[in-house]
Subunit: 391 residues, 2 copies
């Protein structure tokens, strides 16, 4: 049969590749110093704790049968409870019934988009935005517009997608005022506010304002909220177990449980049981180890940028997360520059990948999460040399 | 915010609960003998082998970092290769590039439905059919019609969904002639044929005709096929790792890799690495253990049915899988009977759950996969008593 493309649905035709994911899958060349993929550093994975937990779960015959079996579509009950308590500590008045476990935050986002978007609806995003979110919104047929565009679509928006903390790619966190403005915008546009918060545990300094969902529920029940919160274990523990979550009014969670059941029945039982088992240790001890290690890398990359670029470029100074957003100035073309950079032995993600309206060509994202810290200065030196040559 | 239902997309509104999944989540009452959920028997899970494999993968520092990290959306390369070889042994001329790893066969089905169905398209199904497939097709907006209905929609169908082996719920396998007829029907209706085959390894006697995909590719390349094959490790290993796969022309797999990436990035890295590690042992040794154990249960249930029902009911005599399909005769109402059965201490799935056109009221599905074998006679005795009282 040779006419497959003619058989693809309008949904399938709207799927677009992710520039970031493409980089991640091509892998680094020899001697490459990669500031590309936003992967956590594998040497920081708590492999021993995960192994100990899995051994405990699987050595007990009764528990082994449970953790390898089918389980509830909503997720592991103990893990739902742990996450609800964690979110309450951040000011979100929620219970386990407000939590749905997913295959990472990416699935949480896809479920929410499928819940809310009818093709042709408006979806508002920060500019720049996480490319995986742009992919999801475009595939669902949304008319995706940046919040900051005066010429964007007016009237009702189905949803507003925002990262509140240590934004991908800018590294910035929203101030309290910016959070209040975003909630006001959601009310004004009659939109659901999607708060994507994968990096919040990786805070190296400063204080964070409360989550959008906490501000939205101040003095009232979560059942009144218009905000849906997305979290994940991909950065705080490991990505390979594929567990994330969302927190929302229970009417939303109930509908999404049904969608989750239809899409893939449930998240992995063993993975969820393991995370429930090590949850308290992760929050009380492990995240401190991560913060210290990534903070050193952040410092190394900021120091190298100051040494190599001086006043010839601008960059964000993130207080957490994985990313520095580098502005090479008017006229720079970070997409065109990538080939030369790769040949020189340094990788990054060009800024256009974070926009869907052609902007970002003079920006690039540096991820400091996985390059060896002692190689960071040399990587930034190579980058600066390429940028100078192209000017 | 109180108007959530008004914000739900047409897709979300079409989601329907699964009768089977509801039963699975309510759990058995005290002294209940359940022939309800199609869960594998946890006491047959290869927990020790899984634990040994996970320990091996996680004790090696370099491998641990790999198996806990992000990985390719298409799936673990070694596992893709193993599955391709396994499918070649069944007569399907395929390579790793024809294999996509998913979160169980349910996700494979959902991806395929999202790929092919535009709301209003016709989807043809066997009558009865697996309820999880009916859920997916209805949610995607398909006009779902049973193949055997003379009054069904004519003309082009987007897809035909069929289980070729040890069908859920009937337990029957298609003969070679029936497979050829199904392929002819797919050609006649210009449809893609979806072959769902989760139970094929659980063969207790008899021989199976080749997979629909093997017949479809006889004497030609898989790139010419109109059949997409769905497989899973949920029955041959465990459900809780959530790994299944699909085999299709590479143009289909390439598009679905992009969809998988958009929906949830990838299946669990650790789970896939573990299955790649134990794959050969599962196929060469473990499935024989499963076959022997489930065969004894199948024999026990068939023996009990003959003893308790005699000529007062009809049932299928499956050569594999988990299910017996019981016909209580004209006028029986297995849905109405379920309350009384539950009070008596026996559970099953009523036949209506496997149809979307109101049929099946005098049928019920008995799953012999998880009830303790020594309790099977008593369970069937209770069922027969309830059926007699209701006649």
């Amino acid at each position: 049969m040779r006419d497959w493309p003619a058989r693809f649905s309008s949904y399938a035709r709207r799927l677009i590749p992710s520039a970031i994911r493409g980089l991640a899958e091509s892998g680094p060349a020899k001697d490459m110093i990669s500031f590309g993929p936003g992967e956590p550093d594998g040497s920081l994975f708590p492999a021993a704790q995960i192994q100990a937990s899995l051994t405990k779960l699987l050595s007990d015959n009764k528990r082994a049968q449970e953790v390898l079996q089918y389980a509830a579509s909503a997720g592991h009950p103990v893990l739902r409870g742990r996450i609800a308590r964690y979110m309450r500590d951040k000011g979100v008045p929620c219970g386990p019934e407000n939590v749905l476990l997913t295959n990472g935050a990416q699935q949480a986002l896809d479920l929410v988009a499928a819940l809310l978007i009818e093709a042709g609806d408006t979806a508002l995003v920060q500019a720049p935005s996480y490319p995986g979110a742009l992919q999801v919104l475009v595939a669902r047929g949304a008319n995706v517009a940046a919040i900051d565009r005066a010429d964007g679509p007016r009237g009702r928006a189905s949803l507003i997608y925002a990262m509140s903390n240590f934004h991908n790619p800018t590294g910035r966190s929203l101030t309290l005022k910016e959070r209040q403005d975003l909630l006001a915008l959601a009310r004004e546009r009659d939109a659901v506010l999607i708060e994507d918060d994968p990096y919040e545990v990786l805070r190296y300094e400063g204080e964070l304002a409360p989550p959008l969902l906490a501000l939205d529920t101040e003095g009232r029940s979560i059942e009144e909220a218009r905000t849906i919160y997305l979290g994940t274990f991909s950065k705080s523990v490991v990505p390979g177990l594929r567990v994330g979550w969302l927190v929302a009014p229970s009417i939303v969670v109930d509908k999404l449980i049904l969608m989750k059941q239809t899409h893939d029945l449930q998240a992995g039982t063993l993975a969820q049981a393991c995370l429930a088992d090590i949850f308290d240790w992760v929050v009380s001890e492990h995240v401190d180890v991560l913060r210290k290690a990534y903070r050193r890398r952040r410092d190394a990359v900021l120091e190298a940028l100051a040494a190599e670029f001086g006043n010839s470029a601008g960059w964000s100074a993130p207080q957490g997360g994985f990313f520095v957003w580098l502005n090479l100035g008017e006229g720079a073309d970070t997409r065109a520059m990538l080939d030369e950079a790769t040949r020189t032995g340094v990788a990054y993600v060009p800024g256009f990948a974070f926009h869907n309206d052609g902007r970002g060509s003079n920006f690039l994202r540096l991820s400091f999460s996985s390059a060896p810290i002692e190689r960071i200065p040399e990587g930034v030196r190579r980058l600066a040399a390429v940028a100078r040559a192209k000017r």
